[in-house]
Symmetry: C2
Subunit: 305 residues, 2 copies
DNA sequence: TAGAATTATCGGTTTTCCCTATATCGGACC
DNA sequence: GGTCCGATATAGGGAAAACCGATAATTCTA
């Protein structure tokens, strides 16, 4: 059996005429006759009762043609599905981003994306780096926007931009008096940090030359679950923290209890990039997404391409 | 696209392994790889994201595989349908019979049929000869049990049996006195007849050497629509009529007002046979039906084979 | 670094499919 | 009754496809 055979059968059933059916299928009449006969032999039944003068479908043939029609319809559906997905930009692009980036980056690019790539559907998820990479491995997402170096033998990466860290401290904090925040000020300063697994915590510790988390112990219960929570703590004078650039923009405008300050250090930034499977078949979609992203970054971050 | 291709795709989707999928499809791995690739090219999309180490299905692939599964299931249904109809005895045999035969013949053979050919489903209809032949032409029935010669260039026929006519007259009719009913008695006797189109009417007239119907005129309103009605008329003394043998059996037992008499004439019978399309593909089913029919006829009719 | 596992590629063979030409059959027309 | 027309079936040859075995290429494992 064969999709082509079924098409022939349906054509004959529709026209009750081998010649016309053959014409409709763009083959010669002997070819169509032969294929129908072949199928009848294969199935062991007679589909059409034919005389030299007329063609009539048998009762079994009738039911079989009904199924054949459904099959051909399904096949057409498959072709249509494929057709509409042929443009690699069409169809959902599943992007995961770390939680300290996503809420501040996505608002910047979603509207431009809809304008520039209206046919692209974006599915966004927020997870911690490790979870993102795991989902990437399981093909649950197509790219992970992260800020931690990954094993490039497993995933491909494209550096997008360097995002500076800002210091956020309460209005009445000792730092308030200082004109500029130097590396020395930060060294071993106790910072409020996100909970385990968030790369921002590791990055902040690195910037401040803090000891590894495991040795701290006593501060464990101050690790917050989100940047928003962290900023709430800063706002009520609990301490200070580092905030990535894109997240700062909202704070400065809305929160009078929090002061955000540029850092003097040159290495106080994190590098943001997408990680994706090398075998990911829709690079074009990803590239288009990245282009729109880069075009809509504020000047406070440093584009790398 | 191709049923085979879809089978390959589903196999790969199931096993996530080209080699195993190939094994399951009884082809070599290169063949399967090649066909999958061909299909992907044809559809213009990537169905599977493969590395040297793993195979994962793409989102589009997932939906397409779902449709492919349905298609393969339908195809399997077609094969099963064909399988179960492969035995030509299986499946409905649509028999039409004239109304003066069907009610008296069918009760004789239905039970034996169910015993001998339990898998055969019989669909019976009762019509006048012309209507039966028309339905035969339209493939609405597979055989017509009739008693009028037909153009054997159009349909094939098989003589089954000769069915004698009996005379039915009221108990107090002049015929009552006669020892035997001769051809002379019948000649130009006015008989109660069935309405236009029933072959029994024509046959009765022939037996009695009656004038053609068109010239009678005054008797038109005595033409009844069924043999049962006719016998009711005989029962209340309205006249006499000819009754085919198989129909007589019920009368003799049940009706005390009607006398049934054998006729002396040798030609007072009708020949019963099935007519069927020469191209009818299930001769075996028809032959089997005929065999059971012949085996269960009473000795009062004369089997012809 | 060798070996095992897995998919892709290549060359040659077999099978299937298709076309043209022709046979065959039934009906229509003269 | 003979001839033509319309329809399906059959035959032969050529083109396309599908298939296989061998092998390359790549990646993970030991």
């Amino acid at each position: 059996m064969n999709l082509r055979d079924l098409k022939y059968v349906v054509a004959v059933a529709d026209s009750s005429h081998f010649g016309h059916a053959a014409e409709r299928c763009y083959v010669s009449q002997p070819t169509l006759s032969g294929q129908i006969k072949k199928l009848e032999d294969e199935l062991g039944i007679t589909l059409f009762e034919r005389t030299k003068r007329s063609v009539a479908i048998t009762p079994v043939g009738e039911t079989i043609v009904a199924h054949a029609r459904e099959i051909l319809e399904q096949a057409e559906t498959i072709r249509q599905l494929a057709q509409s997905h042929q443009d690699p930009l069409v169809g959902p692009l599943r992007i995961g981003a770390i939680m300290t980036l996503s809420p501040y980056l996505m608002p910047l690019i979603l509207k431009p994306l809809r304008e520039r790539l209206p046919q692209m559907r974006l599915v966004i998820s927020e997870e911690m780096t490790e979870t993102l990479l795991e989902r990437l491995r399981k093909h649950e997402i197509d790219a992970a926007l992260i800020a931690t170096p990954v094993d490039t033998s497993e995933f491909a990466t494209i550096p997008l931009f360097d995002e500076p860290f800002w210091l956020a401290h309460p209005r009445n904090h000792p730092f308030q008096e200082k004109k500029a925040i130097t590396q020395k000020d930060l060294d071993n300063t106790e910072l409020l940090l996100l909970s385990e697994g968030h790369c921002l915590a590791d990055q902040a510790m690195e910037v401040c030359h803090m000891k590894a988390r495991a040795e701290q112990g006593d501060m464990a219960d101050l690790h917050a679950a989100s940047l928003e929570t962290l900023l709430q703590l800063v706002g009520v004078g609990f301490g200070c923290t580092l905030v990535p650039d894109l997240a700062v923009r909202g704070i400065r405008m809305n929160d009078k209890d929090i002061v955000t300050r540029r850092l003097q250090q040159k290495d106080a930034f994190r590098r943001v990039y997408p990680a994706f499977r090398r075998s990911f078949p829709r690079r074009q979609a990803l590239d288009a997404f990245i282009e729109v992203l880069l075009d809509n970054l504020p000047d406070t971050v440093f584009r790398l391409s």
